[in-house]
Symmetry: C2
């Protein structure tokens, strides 16, 4: 039987350690094609490139996978892969392994997760993987057996229509990981978000920064899972309608 | 009584006709501060600027509103406004009026709507407005009485927690608009998304393009409302968890 076709992308760029680890695991599961940004694209959310051109370059691969770098965002990479690079629809799209957490509301800002959401919009089973450690020296090895088992399960069973997975790994040694928990996105937000500085000519500028605040103490959230050394798996939707709000809006006569 | 503080932003840039129309309506409802991108930022989704600096410049206003241009994305503008420019929490954030539809899955790519989602993450009532007409010559005037009535209602009644509104206007004369409908996001996708070209040196490059395909014939969707000359209002959530998928994932032992 032909092995499944797997598309690999990320938002930290094609040379990042996280994607190199992800490629090595996917090579055990299928035929791998990599289409990933040629430079870091963190925090790009679901951005697409519509006011500039895109370039795609085949690059030398260090293994059985085919590799292409793309000048665009993670979502651009998925679009380019599906519409141009791949000759068949992939059985799975995986994105990451991101350097840094995409739990709670970070899913909304994440280029890693937006690539997975784009896969879900195309109705292709898709998973974003992230490690709660921003360091270029981060140890991805404890995550890899879970990356493999989750990807294998999704290849075997599929996912609900137009739903992808947001998988986050605690940054702890392998023997401390307690297992995998299916979770919901914790309620949280970012605060103190600007670092104001003055440039050499005396003008103000800003760096976006801030602290994540978890507002959710429940035990069914991704934040709880990660704080307790579980791998968190959150199913993520592509229908952003707040269905429960529809009747409320009618009741306040917003449509009058 | 002090009039409510209203933050205005967009993704087409601070000089776009859409935001100038939106500002004129908001000046009737409150004290207006504009913090908007200094250049077009369409398709930026929920992108934030984390690998570069941000600049904010106070600019000359043509009315009672205060205006600031920002070098960042629409989401950056909301963060800069809340954390730096505004001295109090705004009562309302409005984004737009976008030149072009943000119905169906376009909500996911839209900088206009991401600014509203960012407002919702801060638990501030927020609305994104879009007109289904990309032209710089588009006539926004039929939309304005609905912009005012919807914003007034939201100022008066608020919105459900961490939920914002995606409001789209059909591009038809005022007398053809049938009213306002509360809707859900139609199921749809983009196809044929790349336009391949060759540059003068013979190398390939691409423009993102494509056609939107509506897969949803139901009458409770935004696509149906717009096709039938209604103003569509979709409540949009910030909890992206596919709650209905959690039990399914447990049933396939994804956590084993």
């Amino acid at each position: 039987m032909k092995k499944p076709l797997i598309l690999v992308t990320n938002d930290d760029g094609i040379t990042a350690p996280g994607i190199r680890n992800l490629i090595s695991v996917m090579n055990e599961l299928g035929r791998v094609v990599v289409v990933a940004p040629d430079k870091p694209q963190s925090g790009m959310g679901h951005a697409i490139t519509i006011n500039a051109t895109l370039r795609v370059n085949k690059i030398k691969s260090d293994g059985p996978q085919q590799e292409y770098s793309c000048t665009g965002t993670p979502v651009d990479c998925v679009k380019v892969a599906i519409n141009e690079v791949l000759k068949e629809k992939p059985a799975l799209i995986v994105s990451g392994i991101n350097h840094g957490s995409n739990s709670s509301v970070n899913v909304i800002y994440s280029g890693t997760m937006s690539a997975a959401v784009e896969g879900a919009l195309e109705n292709i089973p898709s998973i974003g993987f992230s490690l709660c450690n921003f360091s270029i020296e981060a140890d991805f090895s404890p995550a890899l057996k879970y990356v493999k088992s989750i990807a294998e399960k999704v290849l075997e069973k599929g996912l609900p229509a137009r739903t992808c997975l947001n998988v986050n790994f605690p940054s702890v040694p392998a023997e401390m990981i307690q297992g995998v928990r299916i979770c919901r996105q914790a309620l949280g937000y970012w605060e103190e978000e600007l670092d104001k500085r003055t440039d050499p000519s005396g003008k103000e500028y800003f760096w976006l920064t801030g602290k994540f605040k978890n507002l959710d103490n429940a035990e069914d959230t991704d934040e709880w899972a990660l704080a307790n050394n579980y791998v968190s798996v959150v199913p993520v939707l592509t229908d952003f309608t707040a269905h429960s709000a529809i009747e409320h809006l009618k009741s306040i006569h917003l449509n009058k």
